[in-house]
């Protein structure tokens, strides 16, 4: 599966178009990580626990999108976009969408 965020796959031709595919996940914070983060908030700097958490969630959302594209018979997703939104206090939704295509 090839992913790009431009409107083509360079060097290849789009032969079929399958429409929009999307994947999303909603994650809440872990209480242990939350305590560590609030301590880190005193001195400032990177909160590694959160960086990893969000990165993991994004990977999961992307995997879901890729799975959907595979079911349609696509072998690439172009024009991929990421979006983040806060759903409730302490939880975030990570959303990824793109256009599933078949390239050759």
């Amino acid at each position: 599966m090839i992913l790009t965020n431009i409107d083509s796959v360079p060097g290849k031709k789009i032969v079929e178009h399958y429409g929009i595919v999307a994947g999303s996940t909603i994650r809440a914070k872990h209480i242990g990580k939350d305590i560590a983060a609030s301590l880190k908030n005193i001195v400032g700097g990177e909160i590694k626990g959160y960086t990893e958490l969000l990165q993991e969630s994004r990977t999961q959302a992307t995997e879901r999108m890729v799975k959907q594209a595979e079911q349609l018979g696509a072998n690439a997703v172009i024009n991929v976009r990421y979006a983040t939104s806060a759903v409730t206090q302490g939880a975030a939704e990570l959303f990824v969408y793109g256009t599933a295509v078949r390239v050759a």
């Binding site: 090839i2 992913l3 790009t4 965020n5 431009i6 409107d7 083509s8 796959v9 360079p10 060097g11 983060a37 609030s38 880190k40 908030n41 005193i42 001195v43 400032g44 700097g45 990177e46 909160i47 590694k48 959160y50 960086t51 969000l54 990165q55 994004r58 991929v80 976009r81 990421y82 979006a83 983040t84 939104s85 806060a86 206090q89 975030a92």
Partner: protein, 158 residues
């Protein structure tokens, strides 16, 4: 009873003072170290440019396109957050938060570039940067922010 109350109040004041000094010293040192590392890594990655355009490059020369990304969650120290809350009363520029956002963005872009370098890419096209605030306690507080940078890493063959 009165004495106990006085002691308790003093403890509160002392805690805040300790948090201030700790936040100020540790925060300042951390920022300096971080900027030094950012500048060094930016210099090392100068030969791998990231551009926001997707039409600048001749598409026929491109090989191996892949999505790359980098992210960072970064938080402000206690002292600077207090300064910013004071600024909110009088309004105006909050210089202490500018460095936080600047550090976050540059770090995220650097991580994206490092990933692209591992793939053997020579350029990143159509780069996008997204910033979201992660509220810790109160609503709307920007205690920490998340910066996410992504783009298409490409290999260009002349």
């Amino acid at each position: 009873m009165e004495m106990l109350e006085a002691i308790l109040q003093n403890i509160n004041v002392a805690t805040i003072l300790v948090l201030f000094t700790l936040g100020y010293i540790a925060g300042t040192i951390a920022e300096k170290v971080h900027y030094k590392s950012i500048k060094q890594r930016e210099k090392d990655l100068l030969n791998l440019p990231a551009i926001t355009s997707k039409e600048l490059v001749d598409r026929e020369k491109i090989k191996n396109a892949a999505l790359v990304d980098g992210s960072v969650v970064i938080s402000q120290d206690y002292f600077k957050r207090f300064l910013a809350s004071l600024r909110n009363i009088f309004g105006g520029e909050i210089a202490s938060y500018e460095t936080l956002l600047d550090r976050g963005r540059r770090e995220a872009i650097l991580r994206m570039k490092e990933e692209a370098k591992k793939l053997g890419a020579t350029m990143i096209i159509n780069m996008r940067v997204e910033t979201s605030s992660i509220g810790m306690r109160a609503k709307g507080s920007i205690g920490s922010i998340e910066v996410y940078a992504y783009g298409t890493a490409v290999e260009i063959h002349p």
